[in-house]
Amino acid sequence: MLEVNKENFEAEVLGAAGPVLVDFWSTKCEPCMALVPEVEALAEKYGDRVKFCKLNVLENRRLSIGQKVLGLPTIAIYKSGEKVAELTKDDATVANIEAMIKEHGR
């Protein structure tokens, strides 16, 4: 998964041609850490349909809040520079993430 940050978010996420998934996470967020292997597995499976990125909110707090992300875990999908779908907290389950990818992926 591609690590995005305040320097490359514009180009890699907002300016990307196809759908982009962004996993907002932090090392302090235990539910996020629990999701890591699951999201990695989804990246293997759906990497050709959606571009997978992760964003460490500890190092990119302003950027996260700018994206209206103020809670973890949050997994969002962007298309043409717009956030089109988002799952947060308890809703961010593997099943829901997979369904979101299927709906918004290529």
């Binding site: 235990e30 539910p31 909110v57 707090r61 209206k68 103020l70 809670g71």
Partner: protein
Amino acid sequence: MAVRECDVVIIGAGPAGLAAALYASRARLRTLVLDKGTPGGQVRTTWSMENYPGFVRGMTGPELMDRFAEHAKEFGAEIMRGDVTEVDFGGDPKIVKTHGGEEYRARAVIVAPGAEPRTLGLPGERELRGKGVSYCATCDADFFEDLDIVVIGNGDAAVEEAMYLTKFVNSATMIVVHDEGILDATAVIRDRAFKNSKMKWVWNSVVEEIRGDGIVESVVIKNIKTNERTELEANGVFVFVGTVPKTDFLRGHVELDRRGYVVANELMETSVDGVYCAGDARIKYLRQVITAAADGAIAAVAAEKYIHEEEGFREMVLDPEEPVMVAFWSPASQASLDFLPTVERVAEGRRGKLNLVKIDIYKNQRVAGRYGVAEAPTMAFFRGGQLVEKVCWPTNESELAAVADKVIGG
């Protein structure tokens, strides 16, 4: 669909489930723990952990849980990822199914699903979850560095989590329903909180609404004495108002109370034989790591005893092809003790045609109860796994011999 068999399946890897796993695996039971997330349960999201005996300071919730998990694995327990959606406790083995379609079969099941934060159902609460509304301080504290937050709740957990948040935020305003100076939190925590300069207090008040366009901007507070409403600007709202048990999947399978907590006795036995409950999901007085761990230990020992009792009964009484004469006796019943030599003589005279098994009804109350044996001596005869004759208080050898011969001839 994969099917796996083991002795004990433990649902939930919080402190209750992990302690149960440690005790069960150390008793050499093949032990499997299922949890939908990382082991540790709610303790994972608690940073400060200063009331677990033996660790005064420097121990965090996640770290303690990692140690619990390591300890259980040390004795052979297997901890697996699995979101349990379906159970069938009706037969033997008991069946547990996960979201992914895996099936687990076990002789005994310990349910330790724990609880999750209770939500208030306030206008704006659901919509702004993850947008400033949070139930997990360690997850989201960083977002609120130098910002102003509101905390709802005033019990131990609420005040402790708020104090943790003050390491990050500019201010934490506690909305407290009680009169000034009164908190549900215990005195030691209360006193510490009152000395914390970043904590502010709004008394006699409740939050009525959380407002914001996309992210939290303010809360509407109502004073319950004056009914006056005020709007308070806030960047975040943390809610710590107790928990609800995660027992939906158990509904209709074990007895629950009105609020969804599992009914279990001192041995952690639920309404179903061989199914035990440990931890926060159980009706109990105190929900802490230490009481969860204690529940887990008791449940595992009770489950082990159950498995051995059932196994022994099946091997000796239900499985043999030849008829089995069971003498239910009790050390408390002199009559039953006096009758045992007679029982031995009747069995001796029919060696090869009739097996004798002696069962202490005090130590094996479950088996005795299943066959309606309430007092000793009671003689019961089994053939092909079925109870065929039962004699309560047989008086002499000839009476017992007659029944024995009838069963053998039968």
